[in-house]
């Protein structure tokens, strides 16, 4: 040492460890008490430490880390490694769970698909049943409607019959005989005119059914003018029953005829006359 302190050369030699052991111990003793020399030596040590950076790169064995951590008392390598380790464990367990879940899922899916198929079949059967029931209901509904119509018709007929009976019992009612225009016809009929109820009935038998496009139309003559009472048809038995109301503007009639007109009727009489009315009351008179 130069005097009481360490030279730069000695500091460098101390830093790279080239001093003889006796001198090295003497320097160390001095450094313990001399902060100025410590700064010099530290500077040299920093420079010497850079040598280590030039060492050829060597990869330590992987188990060294475990050794170091065990030696330090750190049981677990590190949170990161722990996390990694746990991550691997968790990943492994997760993989098993995923595999089991996938298998279970497949079984479940297969079971679900079977159930769905069964449900679908059951649903389809119910739909078919519902459709069948709907058809039955529709048929019943139509049948009911027909029955209702028939009931309405019968009710109307009953009402008409009731009205007709009332008309026949009334002194204000005129009953006229309807006779065929041709002598060889066996058809007979009556025209009932109820001025009080303002209703008119026409009934006939042995009427031939008109061909397609033709119909019977009944007219009344009042004051020299014919008023249409409407059209009617005979049924398969040759029976005809027609009911209507007294036309507005007239209270009585002079005569009545039945003509053959086109379907739907004519506004004025055009066809041939097949029946004519003899007012029985008048004849009586």
């Amino acid at each position: 040492m130069a005097g009481d302190h360490i030279s730069q050369e000695q500091a460098d030699e101390f830093a790279i460890g080239s001093l003889e052991p006796a001198l090295e111990r003497a320097v160390a003793l001095h450094l313990a008490d001399c902060s100025a020399c410590r700064d010099i030596v530290r500077d040299s040590e920093r420079l010497a430490a850079t040598f280590a950076l030039t060492s050829p790169h060597r990869k330590p064995p992987s188990q060294l880390k475990q050794r170091v951590f065990l030696a330090t008392g750190i049981r677990r390598p590190s949170p990161l490694r722990r996390a990694f380790g746990y991550g691997k464990a968790v990943a492994g367990v997760a993989a098993v769970f995923v595999a089991v879940a996938a298998f279970t899922g497949m079984v479940w899916m297969r079971s679900e698909m079977t159930d769905l198929r069964n449900d679908d079949e059951r649903l389809q059967r119910k739909i078919d049943e519902a459709l069948s029931q709907e058809v039955e209901i529709a048929a019943l509904t139509r049948k009911l409607e027909d029955q209702e119509k028939e009931a309405a018709r019968l009710a109307e007929a009953a009402t008409g019959d009731q009205g007709l009976i009332v008309a026949l019992l009334s002194n204000e009612t005129r009953i006229a005989d309807v006779v065929p225009a041709e002598e060889d016809s066996s058809s007979i009929g009556r025209l009932i005119w109820d001025g009080e109820q303002k209703r008119v009935w026409f009934v006939a038998s042995d009427l031939p059914q008109r061909p397609a496009g033709e119909t019977y139309q009944i007219w009344v003559n009042s004051g020299g003018k014919y008023y249409s009472l409407g059209t009617f048809a005979a049924d398969a038995d040759g029976f005809a029953r027609y009911q209507t109301v007294v036309p507005e503007g007239i209270t009585t009639y002079d005569t009545a005829i039945v003509t053959i007109e086109r379907v739907g009727g004519s506004p004025t009489r055009e066809g041939p006359t097949v029946f004519l009315v003899y007012d029985l009351s008048r004849l009586t008179d």
């Binding site: 460890g17 950076l53 790169h57 330590p60």
Partner: protein
């Protein structure tokens, strides 16, 4: 280091991962023995964990301190092995024949930080600028753990020559690295 002083295991793990290659490489460079290099590296990090207060940030960079600790621990082991060989009748303090050259041309550890790469490159460049005999003297002292007299004996050079080579080599390195900042 503050975190390690606070017994932060995570910080220790990060420090280990960052510097273990350097510590192990330097240890191996000195000892030329994988098992001893492992033991030395373990000792360095255990000491770091148990006595983090031995590093004082105001006195210098952590990397320099760590490399000094590593080198000193490795040289202690090397000298202890020499003493054992001496007792057992083996070669006296001869550097390991398998010792590698000081100036490595190996690729720099790709896992190191950018700052570390910069340091390594700077030192390599500075050392490569030294005359071969100066590099050799520094190598035998720093990595071989030899004293000046041992180096002189090894190189068959006068002690004064070895001292001069070491002194000049250190001066040139200091200038090269100082100018780097």
């Amino acid at each position: 280091m503050h975190a390690i002083a606070a017994r932060d295991e995570h910080a220790f793990a990060v420090l280990y991962d960052r510097y273990i290659d350097l510590v192990y490489s330097a240890s191996f460079r000195v000892l030329a023995d994988a098992g001893l290099a492992e033991d030395t590296s373990q000792d360095v990090f255990v000491r770091l964990w148990r006595r983090p207060e031995t590093f004082i940030a105001e006195r210098g960079r952590f990397l320099s301190w760590l490399m000094s600790v590593t080198r000193n621990r490795a040289v202690d082991e090397l000298r202890a092995r020499g003493r054992r060989r001496k007792r057992e009748g083996g070669p006296l303090g001869e550097p390991d024949e398998a010792a590698e050259p000081l100036f490595s041309t190996d690729p720099i550890d790709p896992q190191g930080s950018a700052e570390l790469h910069e340091d390594q490159l700077a030192v390599r460049n500075a050392l490569s600028a030294l005359p071969g005999e100066q590099r050799m003297a520094l190598e035998l002292a720093y990595f071989g753990g030899l004293t000046q007299q041992e180096i002189a004996a090894r190189l068959h050079e006068p002690l004064g020559t070895v001292k001069t080579r070491i002194r000049l080599g250190m001066q040139k390195l200091r200038r090269s690295l100082d100018t780097r900042g």
